[in-house]
């Protein structure tokens, strides 16, 4: 008997505003403890929250990008509980009326050993604005706990999905797609180490056709790898428990990356009664159709729109289009390079997916750290297209630029042409020069020429190799082939 896995995600995305959601304090990461805690962050007596419009605009962007309902009126509520890193004794969040309602996200689930890659639509239940808490510091404070309120009040958009995922692979694919999207539309820096994108994963199992099983919620996963491990472990644990006649209790659990195990943090019995009620310090959040249109005008072309355009207008394959739109940086780079060589979309895509991606991977860099600029790639492609250099010479130029030390050697304005010139990489297309080389080879290899002429066609490659070597790799290959064929034929 097989088990069906049911997974839903709640993702906390930290919004990329410069200031906090309800005050003017900075949200920059890594400052000295409490240097970004203003009167509001400290919850001094008498202070009041004022909503940061930038946070709302980012929520609207997310709603637009996922085709979600954007509430014309939403309400901030207080979630009451005591904890030292929660200075007001309540978190301002949204409960009954969230800013973003139902929507959807299309995900690509990659192929596995046994299965094909496929596309799936994951429904989004809601997304709501809320403030982050501070941090407890358990360092050396004379036996006490330190509190850092720099993070208190940082804006979060909590994105809740329907339980539409039925494997760890789908959950990861969804989390990755969501991560790519929030980075793409610029509402989150996506930095998972710094906690800008944190996932809570709800997992349950059931027999096919049975009602939903009891779920357990794995809190605060901040890497896709851990998410995979945690889900795998948790699913197996639930199946083992049920098959051994046990019952699943609803619980909040933590994943320990060191042991690879999950462990219950608190059960439903000792769940808090958060006593939600509308925050009387904040008016309901009203979003007018005009505001939505103003935000829409600032929204970049979305990945799926771009993909369709690459296929329909540039003639790229669906695969190429999806790789090129896997991040905004990748797509921007591609488009900027292509701008230099219009009409060369396929070649440009090949270089992006081939040389550029491969080198980035090899060096452990991301697109923003790419040593070659889009302009330089465009220049390079232009020189291939106009026949100045061969494809193999282009790869040499590419590697030379990649290793160019930008600190010590201020690059000339057109580095591609500079390197071609300096290193003598121009392709030889002079018919006389090629004929001369071919004549010399034929003269020096009379025995092989005889073998070739008696029907040993395979030797053609041998002659090409010799000729290329003699031209130091600079002979135009098409031209060389033509001359060789003619002269060998006798």
């Amino acid at each position: 008997m097989t088990w069906e896995i049911v997974i839903g995600l709640e993702v906390h995305t930290q919004l990329s505003t410069n200031t906090k959601i309800f005050s003017g304090a900075s949200t920059a990461f890594g400052a000295e403890p409490n240097t970004q805690a203003d009167a509001v962050s400290l919850a001094l007596p008498g202070v009041l929250p004022v909503l940061n419009k930038g946070a709302v605009e980012r929520a609207i962007k997310f709603g637009l990008a996922t085709g979600s309902h954007i509430a014309p009126r939403s309400v901030f509520a207080r979630k009451n509980y005591f904890y030292p890193d929660l200075p007001k004794g309540y978190q301002i969040s949204q409960m009954d009326l969230p800013v973003v309602g139902k929507g959807a996200l299309t995900i690509q689930v990659p192929s596995t050993g046994s299965g094909q890659a496929y596309e799936k639509v994951v429904r989004i239940t809601r997304a709501h604005l809320e403030e982050d808490a501070g941090k407890s510091l358990h360092g050396d404070f004379h036996g006490m706990t330190g509190i850092d309120l720099n993070r208190a009040g940082t804006p979060l958009l909590e994105i809740v999905s329907e339980p539409d995922m039925s494997s760890a692979a789908e959950a990861i694919a969804y989390a990755k797609a969501l991560h790519a999207l929030v980075c793409w539309i610029g509402i989150c820096d996506g930095n998972m180490q710094e906690g800008s994108f944190r996932c809570d994963v709800n997992v349950s199992v059931r027999k096919p056709g049975a009602p939903l099983g009891t779920r357990r919620e794995i809190k605060n996963l901040n890497s896709f790898k851990f998410m995979q491990q945690a889900i795998d472990y948790e699913v197996q644990w639930q199946i083992d428990t049920l098959e051994n006649g046990g019952k699943i209790q609803q619980a909040t659990i933590l994943f320990n990356p060191d042991t690879g195990e999950t462990r219950a943090m608190r059960s439903k019995e000792d769940a808090h009664d958060y006593r939600y009620f509308p925050d009387p310090d904040l008016l309901p959040l009203e979003i007018s159709p005009q505001w939505i249109e103003e935000v829409r005008a600032t929204l970049p072309e979305l990945p799926h729109t771009k993909q369709a355009r690459y296929v329909n207008e540039l003639g790229l394959s669906a695969y190429d289009a999806s790789v090129l739109t896997s991040s905004r940086e990748m797509a921007d780079f591609f488009e900027a390079a292509l701008n230099d060589v219009p009409g060369q979309a396929k070649i440009c895509a090949n270089w992006m997916i081939g040389e550029v991606s491969a080198q980035l991977n090899r060096d452990g860099l991301d697109m923003t750290q790419c040593p070659i600029t889009a302009q330089q790639l465009g220049d390079l492609l232009k020189r291939i297209a106009d026949g100045t250099i061969s494809n193999s010479a282009a790869k040499t130029v590419f590697r030379t630029i990649w290793l160019w030390d930008k600190v010590r050697n201020n690059p000339p304005s057109n580095l591609v042409d500079f390197i071609i010139e300096r290193d003598g990489l121009k392709q030889v297309s002079d018919a006389g020069a090629i004929e001369k080389i071919v004549d010399e080879i034929i003269a020096a290899n009379a025995d092989k020429v005889a073998e070739y002429r008696s029907g040993k066609d395979k030797l053609f490659g041998f002659f090409v190799g010799l000729a290329m070597k003699a031209s130091k790799g600079q002979a135009n290959p098409a031209q060389l082939n033509e001359v060789l064929k003619k002269k060998l034929a006798g």
């Binding site: 009167a39 400290l42 919850a43 001094l44 007596p45 008498g46 202070v47 009041l48 929250p49 004022v50 909503l51 207080r78 009451n80 005591f82 030292p84 200075p87 007001k88 004794g89 309540y90 509190i147 009664d273 006593r275 939600y276 009620f277 009387p280 310090d281 904040l282 008016l283």
Partner: protein
């Protein structure tokens, strides 16, 4: 000099008949003499006040004085004032020195007024007799065996005993109007949102409103001109053009339609209060006003609704007093939960704890719909009562409080009896309307009686006009208790 109106004081300062330093010292001397009996002030900083007075004198000398420049104003200890201990009447904040100014405080500072001291109040503004203050009860200057009302009892006593030129209060369910009535002074709670709540320690955010307390309506208009105004730091502050609340003071009252709600003159109203209020209405008729009988049918529900909503908000607002960052922390405790429990058990008084428990209860899972949501619905009905009433009249009048000042300790054991003393004032907060109280006579024990005037939204200028015209025709407001 200490009996002068703000306008007289302002004129005296400008004409150099008296300096601000002299005037401030005069009040400080009166405080030194009379406050030990009355306990109207929690904190005094004579050096700070006098330094402000010296600055005011310098400003007056340059000819840049405003109406309140150089005038000593007492501040209810609910307003955060930079460098001043701000306790809100609680042990919880016994050591809290505010690092910032409330909006109301900075408005007074910008106007050049002197912060004379922080006045006593019921703990976190929860009370109607000023007996819940951690700093001791305030005594009514008319009879020190009686309460001054609350929660702005220290302010009311200080104004009545002439221990300041004027002062501020806050009103969540009657905390300006009821003590004003019981101490025989004038007090105004503006429309919700007129004065910024920034820096005013929150009790029930959707009801709290700051307002002026003084000797007469004319003084209140001057004070409100300084206190009112949009503040972007308070999201519930109203974005409206600045207005001159004194603009209509001189208008005659011909044709003013006064609504008398029958629910305000029913069972529970002391006959001495009823007589004084009826005499005041008769005076208004003489001044050209007409009287309309109206009904506010949901008045009786205002107390239960208030005692669901205000504690609900308070239970959450007071969560920040946890001993972690500032204020009181229990000296001995075990783990974190014990630290919270000990701190809050020791730091809060009985009334505050009672309301936190009520509030926590009504917001709890399973009770929220029956209490909180139901109360919100009735709150809208109460507001509708007023909307209907104002179709028939321009202002509503009635008693501020069902009785004159009661004896200290008289209602201490019976919270519900205490809550009933706000029966006529609470509905005004629930509706967000402006309300005021002015003295209109004396009751059986020779204690002052207050006349409540309720206006439509943003009708403060009209209410002040009605009050001022009455005060031109009567002298109740200029009676002062024997020192």
């Amino acid at each position: 000099m200490h009996n002068s109106s703000l306008q007289q004081l302002s004129a005296a300062l400008r004409s150099k008949k008296i300096s601000s330093v002299e005037l401030t010292q005069l009040y400080l001397d009166r405080i030194a003499a009379l406050n030990p009996q009355l306990n109207a002030y929690i904190t005094l900083n004579p050096e700070t006040s006098l330094a402000q007075a010296r600055e005011a004198d310098a400003r007056i000398a340059t000819g840049n004085a405003e109406a309140l420049t150089g005038i000593p104003i007492a501040q209810k200890d609910i307003f955060c004032a930079q460098g001043w201990r701000t306790t809100c009447g609680s042990k919880m904040l016994h050591n809290f020195v505010s690092p910032y100014d409330a909006h109301v405080i900075s408005q007074f500072n910008n106007a050049g007024a002197i912060n004379l001291g922080k006045t006593n109040m019921d703990e976190f503004a929860m009370g109607s007799s000023n007996e819940t203050s951690h700093y001791g009860a305030v005594k009514n200057p008319w009879d020190t065996a009686r309460v001054p009302g609350g929660s702005s009892g220290g302010t009311a006593a200080a104004v009545a005993a002439r221990l300041c030129a004027a002062a501020t209060g806050t009103d969540t369910g009657g905390s300006i109007r009821q003590p004003a009535a019981l101490c025989g002074i004038s007090g105004l709670k503006p429309t919700y949102g007129v004065c910024s709540r920034y820096g005013m320690i929150a009790f029930a955010s959707s009801l709290d409103q700051a307002g002026p307390m003084g000797r007469c309506a004319e003084d209140l208009a001057l004070l409100l001109n300084t206190m009112a105004g949009f503040d972007e730091r308070d999201s519930t502050s109203l974005q409206r053009d600045k207005e001159d609340y004194a603009r209509d003071l001189a208008k005659p009252l011909n044709g003013l339609r006064i609504g008398l709600p029958k629910e305000f003159f029913a069972e529970g109203l002391s006959s001495d209060v009823a007589q004084a209020v009826e005499a005041a209405i008769a005076e208004y008729k003489k001044l050209g006003a007409t009287v309309v009988d109206i009904s506010l049918p949901n008045t009786r529900l205002s107390i239960p609704v208030y005692y669901v909503l205000a504690p609900a908000e308070a239970s959450s607002n007071l969560s920040r007093f946890d001993g972690v960052r500032y204020g009181y922390r229990a000296p001995d405790y075990g783990d974190l939960a014990d630290m919270y429990e000990q701190t809050r058990a020791q730091g809060f008084g009985e009334e505050v704890k009672r309301r936190i428990m009520i509030g926590t209860y009504v917001l709890s899972h399973g009770y929220y719909d029956a209490y909180y949501l139901q109360a919100q619905k009735i709150r809208r009905l109460i507001a509708q009562d007023f909307t209907e009433a104002f179709k028939q009249c321009d202002v509503i009048m009635g008693p501020t409080s069902p009785s004159t000042a009661f004896k200290l300790g008289e209602k201490g054991d019976d919270p519900v009896q205490m809550y009933l003393s706000d029966i006529y004032t609470i509905a005004v907060n629930l509706a967000g309307l402006p309300g005021m109280s002015i003295p209109c006579g004396f009751g059986d024990n020779n204690m002052p009686v207050g006349l409540q005037i309720i206006g439509n939204y943003f009708d403060e200028a009209r209410m002040l006009n009605a009050a001022h015209q009455y005060q031109l025709a009567t002298d109740w407001h200029s009676r002062a208790p024997q020192a």
